[in-house]
Symmetry: C2
């Protein structure tokens, strides 16, 4: 038996292509949110690995029978949860080729094409985003881009770089003085990265945002927080600003925040994980105005840019800050090219040593569709989100909770539609209260509590239908339902159907509330 | 234009399968180490992304014309460098399916099958490795396994867990007292992880090993180092022991090291990145004896276990240590299943939030080949390494530098073959001296310096031939050539040919030395 038999590769490869196509053709028919119970799979599979080979057909059958029912279908056209995980033919082909080459591109010599294509593609995409030239390799002033797996890694790498740059000036014994800033809308990746990097939780400033300012981080609030820290002899180090937050796709004012940060020598990282791709459209580029004052910028091409998982694009203004922190130079990797300083060794731009030939899929995506089509794909999603938003607005029982900038609509059953009704459960359902954060600390008002409860039950029944999958956000004490358009297969009919599902579930739910 | 057009998916998918097969068919004919010069690719590609789509055929042609020449061919049967990046049909198919599903398995609910299959497969593999039951989920005592990208991540995650467990007891202000232990053969991932985690470089103990004990870390040396630290009121925290080191595949004595560590409450991580897979063979399992005293164990299935990049298998004895350190519980991810504590949320076992459906490829590998065949594949590589080793031994000009345990042969031109010759360059080639670490500090003996120089030149000429690719290690001042057998396409004929290339290059090189 030969584990790389090429006849078998062809036979299985074609079958797998056909199986995946078959999956995509049928994916709209599956319950979007998997309906299995915890532990379902262990009952269906053997308790140990087989000693002898099993036919490919048997494995594929098990995939269909046992795995697919346990999948929450991110590729379904009826998927509107979290943010999309957008796929494309081009992204898939690029991933296949990267897997086929199987090169480990830790340094230039280990596969020059892997390093060089990555630098080129990051410049292409940086230009398309109209990033300041200092973030590009082509201008040769120290900036450039790298492909990481996730935004979590991008934040950890840049935070460690910022930490070390600061400690280099004030002495490494002062780690406990470093302060990291974000808002209450910043992704939890910041908290986790700070923890991993040895920064105490109490040194993370979570600055409050308000609905009245669309949950954007206020530069004045930032300055106040910084000044207080400086008065206490603490050292401001890092700010994570967000373009398109997780809960509501809020946009922090990048330029004004960078202006504040500049006065205190703070590293500003701009996290546009979800919305970043849309910034290649001129009509959205203004959200990035002032990014020349930031030290780094990242977005996930695997979220909403048709590049299959996982592809986080990170650009930095001074790559030496990253490499000063993350370089290792073990003997077994030494080579003339690296020592000549003429090449990039991407191992020094990331946490791990090993890395795949990541850039192929992004290169395939950019070339297969071209920038004009990519802009149109994104605009099409945004138009569909507008359609959904308008449907919400036409139903007086609902409200759109925050302004919609991109393809995410945050909505809820309006408090006006639930006037003077009692809660369903008289507050006795402590378990559910706990898991949705209704612990009384945030929400001490019965009315607000009831509104949240109605919306939570509505979301549960929407997802329980299996017809669509949406998720929730909790902002300023309000439970909002998020409808994120962006799955590649989604068309207008799916968005309209999604709204019908919401209405149907609301009809029966609100009639119960009315009877209460 | 539809980015997920299924007819196009089929057309391009079949073409890509054929292209990759074509690549594998021809890969033996390419220079293994890419011969391009830095910056070669930027000259060949446009300076910006296209506005309009380009045909798939054009992109594939560019791959052939511009990318393939810049590839260092890790899949070539003539690849013997670093460690292998082993592919298989099954691994490839699993990766395709994972890419096709495109699910983001951060928590159970986001795709129950992704979490549950991972737990099951990690138990399967843990059983095959005869890991102590406490490392398995099935025994339900807190242990279990997770798939990460790389060993670097495994070390960082476990180090952070160990750090936090210790700080929880002694107070978080004592970070600067924590000490991390490894040997001078431990992978640089430990140094990098410690740095990221905020541990000062001077708190990393790099314990010397010796050729006379095959570069294994001595438990006595470890105990001495620890005792000295304890005397200085420092706090021993973490030890990284290695089964199959990077330079020479040395094996640290796991059991005795764990015994020492136990006395001081040290977290022992066993890194078997390369050799771990071979431990499913009963004849090698003894290298892991005593692992029940360790806290965690990892190996890279993408190195030498036929599972395509990237797949690092990590098992921990107390998963709560990982999750205590790495959990976040942001509102947008809250759900009943997670709050019930009946499910695993793998986001809390790793650095990043997002993750692919990693376990499919390992599941495909285990089932497609079965454990018996997998053992035979590995034994076959080891037999080929023995063949190479015997060829080295038969040539009196060479020596096998360290005992061979697995599929890595470390050899060099013997000092006896270069008796009383002068260096080539009279020591004037400072640049080359620098990059190979010939800085005079380690090697102050002219003879040793000459031996190293001959071997370095030999390796350069071997790789310059393009016929094979090997790399070097530097141990106890000696430059050794490493021949790592393990590329899936390698057969005995390739190993024999590799040795002929070494001999040919040695013939001409040593005749020059003789004339000097």
């Amino acid at each position: 038996m030969n584990p790389l038999d090429l006849d078998e590769f062809k036979r299985q490869g074609y079958m797998m292509i056909d199986s995946i196509i078959d999956y995509y053709r049928n994916v709209a028919n599956f319950p979007v949110l998997s309906q299995v119970q915890p532990g379902y799979l262990r009952k269906m599979l053997p308790s140990s690995a087989p000693s002898n080979p099993e036919p490919f057909e048997t494995i594929l059958k098990d995939v269909k029978d046992h795995i697919v029912p346990g999948i929450t279908h991110w590729q379904s056209p009826n998927y509107f949860a979290y943010f999309p995980s957008s796929s494309s033919v081009a992204g898939f082909m690029g991933e296949m080729l990267s897997t086929g080459f199987g090169v480990v591109g830790f340094n230039w010599i280990s596969s020059p094409a892997a390093t060089e294509l990555e630098s080129i593609v990051m410049d292409w995409l940086g230009q398309a985003l109209k990033l300041p030239e200092r973030f590009l390799f082509s201008t040769n002033v120290g900036g450039g881009g790298v492909l990481l797996g996730t935004t979590c890694e991008a934040i950890l790498c840049t935070l460690v770089a910022a930490r070390d740059e600061k400690l280099c000036r004030i002495g490494k014994e002062n780690l406990k003085k470093l302060i990291v800033y974000g808002s209450d809308q910043t992704h939890s990746a910041l908290q986790k990265a700070a923890h991993i990097a040895g920064i105490h939780p109490e040194n993370l400033r979570v600055i409050k945002t308000k609905k009245s300012s669309s949950f954007a981080l206020s530069p004045d609030s930032l300055r106040s927080a910084i000044m207080k820290d400086v008065e206490n002899a603490l050292v401001p180090c890092f700010l994570c600003a967000t373009v398109g937050t997780t809960a509501t796709a809020a946009v922090d004012p990048v330029g004004p925040l960078c202006d504040v940060a500049k006065d205190y020598g703070i590293w500003v990282h701009v996290d546009a994980a979800y919305a970043g791709g849309a910034l290649i459209c001129p009509e959205f580029r203004h959200f990035l105005d002032g990014v020349e004052g930031a030290s780094s910028f990242s977005f996930n091409a695997h979220k909403w840019f048709f590049t299959n998982l996982t592809t986080c694009c990170l650009w930095v203004k001074e790559s030496s800050c990253l490499t000063n922190s993350l370089s290792t130079n073990p003997q077994f990797l030494r080579n003339k090219a690296s020592d000549s300083n003429q090449v990039i060794d991407y191992k020094d731009w990331q946490i791990a040593l090993s890395r795949k030939f990541h850039s192929l899929k992004l290169w395939f995506v950019l070339r297969s569709y071209g920038l004009d089509n990519l802009r149109n794909f994104l605009r099409n999603h945004i138009e569909m989100a507008k359609t959904f938003e308008n449907l919400v607005k036409q139903d007086k029982r609902f409200e759109v909770f925050v302004p919609r900038y991109f393809s995410l609509v945050c909505f809820r059953v309006s408090p006006l539609a639930i006037a003077n009704k009692k809660p369903f459960c008289n507050g006795t359902n402590e378990e559910e209260d706990h898991y949705y954060g209704f612990g009384g600390k945030i929400i001490n008002d019965d009315k607000e509590r009831l509104v949240n409860e109605v919306n939570r039950k509505l979301l549960d029944s929407i997802n329980g239908s299996g017809k669509v999958f949406m998720t929730h956000g909790m902002v300023e004490g309000a439970f909002v339902i998020r409808c994120a358009v962006g799955a590649t297969l989604t068309e207008e009919q799916h968005v309209i159907m999604a709204w019908k599902v919401v209405q149907e579930q609301a009809n029966s739910l609100l009639s119960v509330v009315s009877k209460a």
